[in-house]
Symmetry: C2
Subunit: 557 residues, 2 copies
């Protein structure tokens, strides 16, 4: 059975009312806003004034660099949550929201797989509770207000050649990467170059995920840099005086969404910035809600640990006010062999030598997480072609780093297949944790980038291209040169070259340009050719999707 | 108190749970999908197989041409629904969904006013249940699939100079009217001219409002014309094979939304095409649901009766399979005096002569509705400056046409202020109705346009500009020349000149170009300079909007 068939079979037979799921973590009917029978938003008042108990634990799930062989991080995250509940540890899961762009493009749904899924999967993968659309709408309303301001007299003296605020769509649409707008004569606005990002790469998405309440949301929106005046002075949303209207458009999107796994584990799915071009973590509010409501919170971060986990630990953790108590790194025998040079078609053949070579990728991720002082467990996400010899060799390699690697069969068996992993993770939580941030907040932007590039990525040095160098001067002038950094880098490699698999060393990291996200509170550093608007593939997933007369959806997987 | 203050005071104290509202029309909990405590979607299964009782009545509310003086059609519609329920006639209201573009622009909220409002007004005016966003998303997913098809080899041989499918946003954004996309080199797609419409002007919105079930929705989407090949052959969504994916994105948007008035009248708000550039009526499914569930259904259509009512009677009625049993035309003394040449600043002064002159506008609308064989009642929406002499004169002028004109104070007094109107409408329903369509379906496109222009608008003749003439030839070649017509015309005048108030005659109607909406099943005829993407004014309503730390919204009115 495909993922959607398993999900649909379960949805029809076994989903529990969302009020029942809410009650499992002490939420009453008045604490939630129902969206149909199986989805709800949690009101901020339901948890915001509650203290965070000191003995509640946060477990971060991350992975090796993704490969076409598949890793299954969300599946393991969900299966681990189910397993912990099965083991009697009261657990919530906190995930990111899927973006429709990849759903319609290559990836299909993003709600786990097999018997480790969140449901209702069709709703979560499509419009869900409307958060993405509210963000798109707020983002583009701001864009329209900027162009209208210029058209109507430009009292703020905004230089239309230096507008940095882009429009967005939650769609993979390469044709919108570079556009010219405002054509058609004096009644159609001011012609200028523009472009669209995918919504999950937008600053508003980052802000939604970092805001702690409506007041903070509005304050962050007011700080957003939209461009510069003809005198090169920064112009913000606060100057336009529309932070109230934009925050208003996000009032419901700010509330965490509650759903359930196939095994009825309460799951929050809220906020979904991509980890290659944004900070890659679900919202602070959802993670906070989970931490307050459940003894154990399992959360994941995007792509490999070089991107998602680094940003979770360096950007999200300080704002959250709590570091993870343990880290799980997801790996597969297949993906490590791919990292070791095996072609996709040959991955089903046992190959210990390639596994050992590809292990270099996992090894660096393990060491990186240990550098933060965090206990690490490796989850080997099982595939049918894995051989006992491969699994044993992988476990032995991990053991050399003092790390337990646990074979995990949650795709096939649900919580039952994740019990061993759950026990290992619970055991890892007993050791005392001495969390060490990677860098101090007061270091400069370039120092921060150098530390990440050398210590996390394994780079020899960092080179700034001409545009980036010019921007660094502007940042110094405006006092932005000590802000946190959000790296935008290919997810496929530690380096900025997507083809450099394994654990490359001695390379140069190229910083092409920066995007100052003053509202989010960080500077995005764009390396290599990372795209902020994906394109669709030759055979988009949309082509296989359909809906029957009775509303049943097929092809969404 | 402002509209939003009245609404908020009521929402906090008195809104009934949406399950209670649903129960009033016989809907059980399993028939609806709740969106919070006060909004729900009605499942199609809750009413689709139910017969439409022959004695159930449909009342259409329309108005004179809108003026800056204000008419209050939605307010009267809502007040009339409340009044009928108060009079013991079981009534539902069926309205269109507000578009965020005008909400952020000039108009503000669109949920009635004073004590005749639908609530929760903030939710309805902002993202509501996500229908607009689902439409925007489906529309732009289709656009991305088209550009991707061309970029990936263009197997269908689509001529990128002749793509008619435009992108949309639910935003007033003049800078997106005319754009160039696909810039940046061979990896960013094919450069071409493009443009954005406002979502409510999109064909998908029209389709959503005309579809009778998922099967019909998908079949209509498959028929959408997206452009032409290099050999000038039409290309449809069916050729691209993505009707399933696009219909899937609209599966929830297709379900009617249930809310309540301040007096707890069950109200459906579903679908919202503009009446100047689209067909201007709420959805067939919502109107059908109301007709089946309640003895009386009050519905409105957009702008003046020349646009909204003409399209309701000529486009929607045949698909609905039921014509209205009575028509209410909303007028104000102020607006008629404005039509009679009085400046906005002087409207508070009694002026019988101007009223008599401006009455020409109302007179033509009355006669037009009578031409369809429908009983007409005029609702005089009261303003404080109206004098008894003005109201009496207006009533006398209407009486000369055999029409009762009833003073209505629903803004100030709710249902109490609409009782007299309600009684008059109920009385008008006792006369037998002999509904006469304006034109026969088998007449040609140009014959249909001539009939509408001469009989409804009062035009002398119709002139087709060069582009329109060429298109007529294409339509003849493709067999589209007997399709229904959807007129796109300024709402401010019977003519295509927004400044020609009153009841102009002897003018020429200019058809600039056509848009073949094959999925919706009509050809849009664009007259004069009507815009399919509005712009924001110098002081957008967004500037006055705000949200407090506790989530309270201000400035949305």
């Amino acid at each position: 059975m495909s993922d959607i068939e398993i999900a649909q079979a379960n949805e029809q037979k076994e989903m529990q009312p969302i009020t029942t799921i809410a009650a499992k973590v002490g939420l009453q009917e008045q604490d939630i806003e129902r969206y149909g029978d199986y989805k709800a938003k949690i009101k901020l008042t339901a948890f915001e004034n509650q203290p965070l108990p000191a003995d509640h634990k946060l477990i971060l799930v991350t992975s090796i660099n993704p490969t076409p062989a598949g890793e299954g991080k969300s599946t393991v995250t969900i299966g681990l949550g189910d397993a912990l509940n099965k083991l009697g540890a009261q657990t919530m899961i906190a995930l990111r929201e899927p973006s429709l762009g990849p759903v319609m493009g290559m990836k299909g749904g993003a709600t786990g797989g097999g018997y480790a899924q969140v449901v209702p999967m069709e709703d979560i993968n499509l419009h869900f509770t409307g958060d993405m659309h509210a963000l798109t709408c707020a983002n583009n309303t701001l864009a329209a207000l900027i162009d209208n301001h210029i058209h109507q007299g430009n009292a703020l003296n905004i230089d239309q050649r230096r507008i940095s605020w882009k429009r967005t769509l939650d769609i993979n649409d390469r044709a919108l990467r570079h556009t010219v707008i405002g054509l058609g004569g004096p009644f159609q606005g001011i012609p200028r170059e523009d472009g669209f990002n995918i919504t999950v790469a937008s600053e508003l998405m980052a802000i939604l995920c970092l805001a702690t309440n409506i007041h903070d949301l509005k304050a962050r929106i007011a700080k957003i840099l939209i461009g510069y005046t003809y005198d090169r002075q920064p112009v913000t949303v606060g100057d336009l005086k529309v932070q109230g209207a934009i925050a208003m458009l996000l009032k419901d999107a700010l509330k965490p969404n509650l759903v359930q796994t196939l095994e009825h584990t309460p799951t929050l799915i809220h906020g979904g910035p991509f980890a290659n071009i944004a900070h890659g973590c679900n919202s602070i509010l959802a993670t906070t809600a989970a931490l307050k409501l459940a003894k154990y919170t399992i959360t994941e971060c995007g792509f490999g640990a070089d991107l998602g986990a680094e940003k979770f630990l360096d950007i999200k953790t300080p704002k959250l006010g709590k570091h993870p108590d343990a880290v799980v790194i997801v790996a597969t025998v297949r993906a490590l062999k791919y990292n070791g040079g095996v072609a996709l078609a040959d991955l089903k053949t046992e190959n210990i030598a390639a596994l050992e070579q590809g292990f270099a990728n996992l090894k660096r991720h393990i060491e990186n997480m240990q550098r933060y002082g965090l206990p690490v467990t490796v989850a080997i996400n099982a595939f049918t072609a894995d051989t006992p010899a491969e699994i044993q060799r992988l476990q032995a390699l991990c053991a050399e780093l003092g790390v337990q690697a646990v074979n995990t069969e949650v795709w096939e068996k649900g919580s039952e297949g994740g019990k061993a992993l759950g026990e290992a993770v619970l055991a890892s939580l007993t050791a005392p944790v001495d969390f060490k941030p990677l860098y101090e907040p007061e270091t400069t932007l370039t120092e921060k980038i150098a530390i990440i590039a050398q210590q996390i990525y394994g780079a020899k040095d960092v080179v700034y291209e001409t545009k980036a160098k010019k921007q660094l001067k502007t940042f110094a002038t405006n006092g932005w040169d000590k802000m946190p950094v959000c790296m935008a880098k290919t997810q496929y490699s530690f380096s900025d070259d997507p083809k450099a698999l394994g654990a490359p060393t001695g390379f140069t990291l190229h910083i092409r340009e920066f995007t100052p996200d003053l509202g989010a509170g960080f500077i995005v550093a764009l390396t290599g050719n990372v795209l902020t608007m994906p394109g669709l593939p030759k055979q988009p997933a949309a082509l296989r999707m359909d809906i029957a007369d009775d509303g049943t959806i097929t092809g969404l997987f």
